[in-house]
């Protein structure tokens, strides 16, 4: 690929990116396309985490503790992706839910059909870090155990 061709692609990409619309709440995306792309990203991430879960199982790697924790991490990340998918769907795609910050202590959350269960459901889904942070911790812990096992194996070979 020539330098001119590369520069053209870069310029056109920048022009496309640099003209978004304003968005609010969780992670609002400019137009329907932005939301859809983002949702597809979440979906792709979710499916890949499920595939990772079953791949680790298929290779019988889950017999080792390190890999078992990574498998659990993949499961939690897939649940987190589902959580994010639902949140973006409700407040960004179909505009079912509206969140407005009154102060740092209070927020007003309304739904189109005034459904309390839905509002409460949305509220808990907004605490998505309760899924993603443990997932990341499990990933770190799993890698720590794999590293430890590797050290032990190398000591044994010596």
């Amino acid at each position: 690929m020539s330098i001119d061709c590369f520069l053209q692609i870069l310029i056109y990409s920048a022009l496309t990116i640099l003209s978004p619309h304003l968005a609010y709440a969780t992670q609002m995306h400019s137009a329907a396309e932005g939301v859809i792309v983002h949702q597809i990203g979440h979906l792709f991430f979710l499916i890949s985490m499920i595939i990772l879960y079953f791949t680790i199982r298929g290779k019988s790697l889950d017999s080792q503790q390190g890999w078992r924790l990574i498998q659990l991490s993949a499961l939690l990340f897939s649940l987190w992706n589902l959580d994010a998918l639902i949140v973006h769907f409700l407040d960004n795609q179909i505009d079912m839910i509206y969140l407005k910050n009154i102060s740092i202590f209070e927020a007003q959350i309304d739904s189109v059909n005034n459904s309390k269960p839905l509002i409460l459901f949305y509220y808990f889904l907004r605490l998505d870090h309760l899924l993603s942070l443990p997932a990341m911790i499990l990933l770190w812990r799993g890698l720590s155990l794999i590293l430890k096992q590797n050290l032990a194996n190398q000591e044994l070979i010596k």
Binding site: I17, S30, I47, I104, L133, N150
Partner: protein
């Protein structure tokens, strides 16, 4: 519906920080793993995954933190400008994670192939190493092996030379034997004439009172001795007939002993004879079926060997005996299973390593010229031909015992009769 925003805020901020921290910690572990296990493709893969998660965590966490800060400080419009970029980066990071994860299977297969190749390489290396060690060892021992083989070849050549020398010696001795027989034959005639004339003179009555009578007696005695020696030599040099017949072992042994008594080598050797029940043997008990000349040869060979073993002033015991003797009711016919001749000496004995070889043709421990190495071999063949066997017991420096065991003629005749029936 108004709900507390603080939990969302706290969880969001703390969670974001936590995500960054733990993503970086996981990345650090992946880097360490890669450094430790550089050959493992899965270590590299885990590093890529961790990079993906780190980019995702940082982009998302930073986005959330910035958003919350903007909202708290009332700069929501700023967030409106930043959020699309943040969201885009998040989307890209999701895609990156998804793509990386899908390569897990491929990486795994590659890793397994690499590990298998590594294992095969290690096995090949080990085999090469072993082959190398063996080659080095062979190289080191090659010279030694060449020397050993050369020694074996030289030994075989020397043995062949020795055998050739012994054959030549045997031929020489055979020729000498013939010559001796010729000479003896020539001497026999004059001796006969001398004896004849001496006896004629002794018969003359007029000589009885003469001074020469005693002298003539002495001449007769010594001529008879000479004739006896010559006669025995002629007897043994004669190519005996191949005729098989009844042979009395006691007679054979007795003849041989008498013959060898005149031999210079046996002069100083004490020979003791123990013949089995002469009376019984005279009525045929000690008979064997065979060739007398050949059996005599066997006894001579054994005695000559014993003589060489004892050297001077030794002892040789000769014995004949029968085994499983049975008498019939009339006491006239005696049957036995085997008739044996024992030749025992108190000589230097036979070394244990030589014992299995004493009956081999041309095997001898004597220097060339002192023996052909054929005596025992010929004796063995003769005894075998007669349906018997030779047994040896020998101890170094203590002496040897040779037992010639032959089947009794009475036993053979009885067995043949049974077969005919």
């Amino acid at each position: 519906m108004i709900l507390p925003y603080l939990p969302i805020l706290v969880v969001d901020i703390a969670g974001s920080f936590g995500m960054i921290v733990f993503a970086l910690l996981a990345l650090n572990n992946a880097i360490k793993l890669k450094k430790r296990d550089t050959d493992n493709v899965m270590s590299l893969y885990l590093l890529w995954i961790c990079w993906g998660f780190t980019i995702f965590a940082i982009s998302r966490a930073l986005g959330h933190l910035v958003r919350q800060l903007m909202v708290i400080y009332g700069h929501s419009d700023w967030w409106s400008f930043i959020s699309p970029y943040s969201g885009t980066i998040n989307t890209v990071s999701f895609m990156l994670m998804g793509v990386l994860t899908l390569f897990f299977n491929q990486n795994w297969k590659i890793n397994m192939k690499i590990l298998e190749s590594q294992k095969n390489l290690e096995t090949t290396n080990q085999a090469l190493e072993e082959t190398h060690i063996e080659l080095v060892k062979l190289n080191q021992t090659l010279e030694q092996k060449v020397a050993e083989r050369t020694a074996i070849i030289m030994k075989n050549i020397n043995e062949k030379k020795n055998m050739a020398q012994q054959i030549a010696q045997a031929d020489k001795l055979a020729a000498l034997g013939e010559l001796a027989a010729g000479v003896a034959h020539e001497i026999n005639n004059p001796l006969g004439i001398i004896l004849g004339y001496t006896q004629l003179m002794l018969k003359d009555k007029s000589m009885e009172n003469s001074d020469f009578y005693e002298d003539l007696k002495v001449i007769e005695k010594h001529v008879k001795n000479c004739k006896s020696v010559v006669s025995d030599m002629l007897t043994f040099s004669r190519k005996g007939s191949l005729k098989q017949g009844i042979v009395n072992l006691n007679h054979v042994v007795d003849d041989v002993v008498k013959f060898l008594h005149n031999h210079s080598d046996f002069r100083n050797i004490e020979m003791k004879l123990d013949l089995y029940h002469e009376g019984i043997c005279d009525i045929g008990a000690c008979n064997v079926l065979g060739n007398e000349q050949e059996l005599r040869q066997v006894v001579i060979n054994l005695l000559i060997n014993s003589c060489h073993a004892v050297e001077k002033n030794g002892k040789i015991n000769l014995k004949t005996l029968l085994t499983d003797v049975e008498k019939d009711s009339s006491q006239e016919e005696i049957r036995c299973r085997d008739a044996e001749i024992w030749v025992e000496d108190n000589g230097k004995g036979i070394k244990p390593e030589n014992l299995p070889r004493i009956f081999d043709p041309f095997f001898t421990t004597k220097p060339v010229g002192q023996g052909t190495g054929l005596g025992l071999s010929v004796s063995y063949g003769i005894v075998k031909k007669h349906g018997g066997r030779i047994e040896v017991k020998s101890k170094e420096n203590e002496g040897s015992l040779f037992r010639v065991i032959l089947p009794c003629a009475s036993n053979i005749i009885a067995e043949e009769s049974m077969e005919k029936i």
